[in-house]
Amino acid sequence: MTTPREFKYVGTRPIRHDGVDKVTGRASYGADVVWPGMLHGFVLRSPHAHARIVSIDTRAAEATPGVKAVLTGKDLPETTATIALGEAAIDLRDVGDNMLARTKVLYHGHAVAAVAATTIDIAREAAEKIQVVYEVLEPVTGIDRAIAADAPILHPALRTKGAASPGAAGPTNIASRLEFKRGDVDAAFAEADVVVEREFRTPMVHQGYIEPHACIARCGEDGRAVVWCTTQGPFVVRDACAAIAGLDPAHVKVIPSEIGGGFGGKIVVYLEPMAIALSRKAQRPVKMVMGRDEVFRATGPTSGSRVRVKLGAKRDGTLVAATASLWYEAGAYRGSPVGAGAMCALAAYKIPSFFIEAHDVVVNKPKVAAYRAPGSPIAAFAVESVVDEIARELKMDPIELRLKNANAEGDKAPYGPKYGPIGLKQILEAARNHPHWTSPLAANQGRGIAVGFWFNAGMNSSATVILDTDGSAAVVTGNPDIGGTRAAQAIMVAEELGIPVERVRPGVGDTDGSGYTDLTGGSRVCYATGMAVIRAAEDVRDQLKARAAQIWNVAVDAVGWENGRAIPPAGTEKAEAMTVAGLAAKMAHTGGPIVGRASLYAPMAGPAFGAHICDLEVDSETGQSKVVRYTVFQDVGRAVHPGYVEGQMQGGAAQGIGWALNEEYIYDADGVMENAGFLDYRMPVASDLPMIDTVIIEVPNPLHPYGVRGVGEVPIVPPLAAVANAMRDATGIRFTELPLSPPRVLEAIEAASAVSVGA
């Protein structure tokens, strides 16, 4: 065992470097820039959820004074390229089709044409003059309809990929089917003393970032394009723009703006290639900004779902068998996160025998995008609700039941490999020992607990650390900073070089200004990019030691390093320890500038678990409920800036609470979303929530030099079930469909009381 490293800066809470710009309104987000001569783009969208495009006549729009370019799907080349991005490997043909329909519209709001004009009003009015003739088709509005024998088919060429169900062949809306299994499930269930089976449904929900998608692009006569946009992944945007707009990637530069929230929803391109193509036609910059209704209708929410879960346990609480059948809506094109959902569903528990099947289903709704721990919250809602029922059947404390079955280091994950060090038992023990768990509840209140799991990504990262002659340093990576990663990166450089964190300037590079870096997402930035930052800082330190060796005329290996100073070997004449600033001042005389760099491919950061306790108060006369107390426990490996770690835990919990209580895409029979605005798509506001307490557990991740595990995604996983379990505790009713909105809760309470009165 090595002794744990003592940190000077890691674990402190410095003020974030980009903070002043953000509290003064100076920070530039996607829609905040103006380029000389720029035009405004407007998108014409389909009024039908499912229709064939018969013809598009753009002549009247093109003839409108002030209109400089009109674009339809025919103006763009078809591409077969893909970008590797996990389960939802980005199929750029689908992305291009989704951005601008070619032959069929597949959801209400699907883009069919775009106009660039001198003002946004002219662009909008001209777009309304575009004549689109549709052959309207029956919409597939949900999973049940999609898999019916007589269902309309969205994509005639689609065939089920993976472990197809027996007899499955020919056109289908089931894009893929996966299985995970272990042991003999039927025999295991036969030995169970208690079996609980339930079917759950959740609606489509949106990430709800406050900043709508926005970009500005210019494409010159030479075919070179520059794009400024709000994105989680500038390199993804670059590659997607090149392929979809038909440009050489060498000629596309993407400059990420500050980003006003993403949560997985700002990875795919919806505007950028269109802006480039319009600019190429008009030979002027084109700015495009979505309205909120467009964000809801035509970006990427996460799946609606149907999940059936069955668990069997022995009388002593040992879980012995499980089955789970997951059906996730992909939206208009294949690629829901159902595979991840299947891998996460049972990740917390040692269950010797299980069978999980997962189906990816296309429907006439917007194509889903990643949303914070994609796929896991839906699965956890179902499994953790059933675990709660098992605990009730067995009259067992739900934390004890979970602890009894909790996976630990060396146990085999349901998706195969053995777990390394994980903190599941530690978070459950912390929850059990926390005063929240044993505090009294008031009348009409209930308490629920649930756990959640996410993998946390690794992948490609690059970092550059630039030392200046005054001994300060800049650090540049390619990751847009959504939640405070610049502060974390500055802390890492300070830690490695021993210079004050205020003297480190963290920055986000554009696609020409930083090495290739995968997107900001998957909870990977502090882990994978952080590792690159640490190595780049180490590179600077190694160069400083070499400079000191030169000055002292000793061997490099003999130079030590302590507390930000190079230490001469004992007995060196006229040599005193030199600080970074001292060495930096001599850079020009000892070999020139010092730049440290590192790039790496990191394996996935490794499993992370959280547990949430929710107290809910329910008004039985209105069905209204309110979270009155909430505590989040999470193993984060190592908290580099605890303030922003807590912020991730609190923010994820709040999003999950919204998913549980109020948020949903509401569709009419024609497949038109009826609540595409913040008034009717009800996200939590400040008065809906209490303070959200956080308990940070640190079980260091052996793959990272500080033990960082990643933090952002896990906290959205437990709340759906934690809230539903609290609702069960408060009302005696097991809700299997989200959201637990007042009308649904009231109806169930009235039905239950009618039954008890009748009995």
Partner: protein
């Protein structure tokens, strides 16, 4: 010989084989050997993430294998 655990959901295409020992020094050779043995799922195997002794590589590239490595093929995962 690395011990390779095939995806549990694909055993209908492997004649029920769940685990197999493969002599390969690196991931590409291992995937090629598996594809040769189980041609029905060769294409799918190439698209999977590879867990080597518990560490999951979304893109396994040319990762080296130890003689006693424990290898799992798992679906790739997207993050948000």
């Amino acid at each position: 010989m690395a011990t390779v655990h095939l995806p549990s959901g694909l055993t209908q295409y492997t004649g029920g084989v769940e685990t197999i020992d493969i002599d390969a020094a690196r991931v590409p050779e291992l995937i090629a050997a598996l594809g040769h043995r189980f041609p029905q799922i060769a294409e799918q195997l190439g698209e999977m993430a590879v867990a080597i002794d518990g560490e999951i590589y979304q893109d396994p590239g040319y990762q080296l294998l130890r003689a006693d490595s424990d290898v799992h093929l798992v679906p790739r995962i997207a993050g948000g």
